[in-house]
Amino acid sequence: MTAIGVDAGASRLKLVLVRDGAVVARGSAPCGLDLAGAAAGLLADVLARAGIERGGVEKILATGAGADAVPYATGKVNPVRALARAGVHLVPGARTVFEIGAEEARAVRCDAKGQVTDFALNDKCAAGAGSFLEAMSRALETPLEELGPLSLRATKAVTMTAQCVIFAESEVVSLIHRSTPREEIARAAYEAMANRVQSMLLRLGTVPEVVCVGGVARDLGFLAALERRIGTKVTVPPDPEFAGALGAALCAGAP
């Protein structure tokens, strides 16, 4: 069976084309202001690269915050289900899988087949998601991809007290004015975010293997801060930002 999964996140669209359980092609694009248009363009782009006609795709399942806006989807998959399926597909030993997106974070406990046994969400508050790191990157005038390495240079950190992205930006500005070293501020930001993610994981209990996906999974500064807190190794599979779309595509084959 040939199936497509589309993950319409708060910031980016991800699309994965799967044939008989293996990834054939994938692509991503910013959501922009016209999500439906961006989704249509992304579909055409991936089909062209894969050399497959639209008619050759049996199911297209959408997931993510903007799933309803994907015009060509034949069905929807709950992001929590998609997360569990993708987690176990990518890392067969995965039993706790969590995803940090731009505006939402979610975590699942699952069995060996990728079925959800429990889940927890950190949604509707950007402080526990990627937007927080983008704000920190702006406030520290450091590109996002350099923020993690910067934080790893610190040996200690102050504690950030702000729990809102808006206040956190102000707090960084005042820490800079007080001559706090930038690497310590960066580390403080990751500690604060890891604290919020940890609380989500504490609700579930972390059973190894613990797997992290989503865009933020690539951030070494975040992973270091989280591993320090939960005391367990966190596995990140390749192309972690495509996990949601992959999971949706896999659900088409065997729900």
């Binding site: 509707k124 808006i166 102000s170």
Partner: protein
């Protein structure tokens, strides 16, 4: 960002005329060290004699000392002439010359009661980085309160976000937002991050600045109303803090409540809402002083 913080107070002081500085039985002082501004009020037998406001420096004890000194300038009195000092303020405030520290909520409540009289029952304090909702009784004792400093929604900082986005000076924003025939639906009223995204989308749809501001201020007013609902709103209702000057929010809040807030009291007589905490602290100082004298 420092020059845009319009909730900062200018550094001023006043010695009220016609006060009998030498003849007062109880000379008390309240010192309120806030995160942004420090205030001191000196009272003569429970009436305001002088006051001062200045920017809080890097350390609390120095700020407390300096602002008290400012308030005493030209009065003929020294700090040692004060019978009782009460300190208050933000967090773990340290006012070394205070015999007692009282919470900022209790002091603010007593101060509001002094400024507006015993009819005030609900106070909304909208500051730069926090919002407080306080229910009081007729003596100015706190009945119920909550403080929000977790979310930027409704704070001065939250307003700064839309002011920056629309390039509108923050002190003109309120009036501009009222230049609409009819209020549009509010944007997200619990989160500035989401409210801002919605405002951006509305702008792209071609909405005017005034209409976007109206939607944003309407949302912030809804936010404040929901905070007030938790403590319960009872007339009379007073608004203090930097955002109390934001007509875009206050007018809409009054519409939702169905009644107006109490008008400003006589600022020339030292009854400035900015001084509410220090006034309350000075009143507590008088009460503690009298209690100690009795017994």
């Amino acid at each position: 960002m420092a020059d845009r913080e319009y909730w900062r107070w200018s550094e001023v002081r006043q010695v009220l005329p016609g006060r009998d500085w030498k003849g007062a039985k109880a000379v008390t002082a309240g010192i309120d060290v806030g995160s942004v501004g420090s205030k001191a009020v000196v009272m003569l037998d429970g009436a305001i004699g002088s006051w001062a406001i200045m920017r809080t420096g890097f350390n609390s004890p120095d700020s407390a000392q300096q602002v008290l000194g400012r308030a005493l300038e030209g009065t003929g009195l020294a700090a040692s002439d004060i019978h009782y000092v009460v300190g208050t303020g933000y967090g773990r405030v340290n006012v070394p010359m205070a015999k007692k520290t009282v919470t900022e909520i209790s002091c603010h409540a007593r101060g509001a009661n002094h400024i507006w009289g015993k009819s005030v029952r609900t106070i909304l304090d909208v500051g730069g980085q926090d919002i407080k909702a306080i229910r009081v009784d007729e003596a100015g004792n706190v009945v119920s309160f909550l403080m929000n400093d977790k979310c930027a929604a409704g704070t001065g900082r939250g307003m700064e976000v839309i002011a920056d986005l629309l390039a509108v000076p923050i002190d003109e924003l309120g009036e501009l937002s009222l230049k609409v025939d009819q209020d549009p639906a509010p944007v997200n009223c619990t989160c500035v991050v989401f409210a801002k995204s919605e405002a951006v989308a509305l702008l792209r749809k071609g909405w005017s600045k005034e209409k976007v501001l109206a939607a944003y201020c309407a949302a912030m007013a809804v936010r404040m109303h929901s905070l007030l609902s938790r403590v319960g709103v009872e007339r009379e209702f007073a608004v203090t803090g930097g955002q109390s000057r934001n007509s875009g929010i206050v007018t809409r809040l009054e519409r939702t409540l169905g009644f107006p807030r109490l008008p400003a009291a006589d600022v020339a007589a030292g009854l400035d809402p900015m001084l509410a905490g220090a006034i309350g602290a000075a009143l507590y100082a008088k009460a503690f002083h009298e209690k100690a004298a009795k017994g």
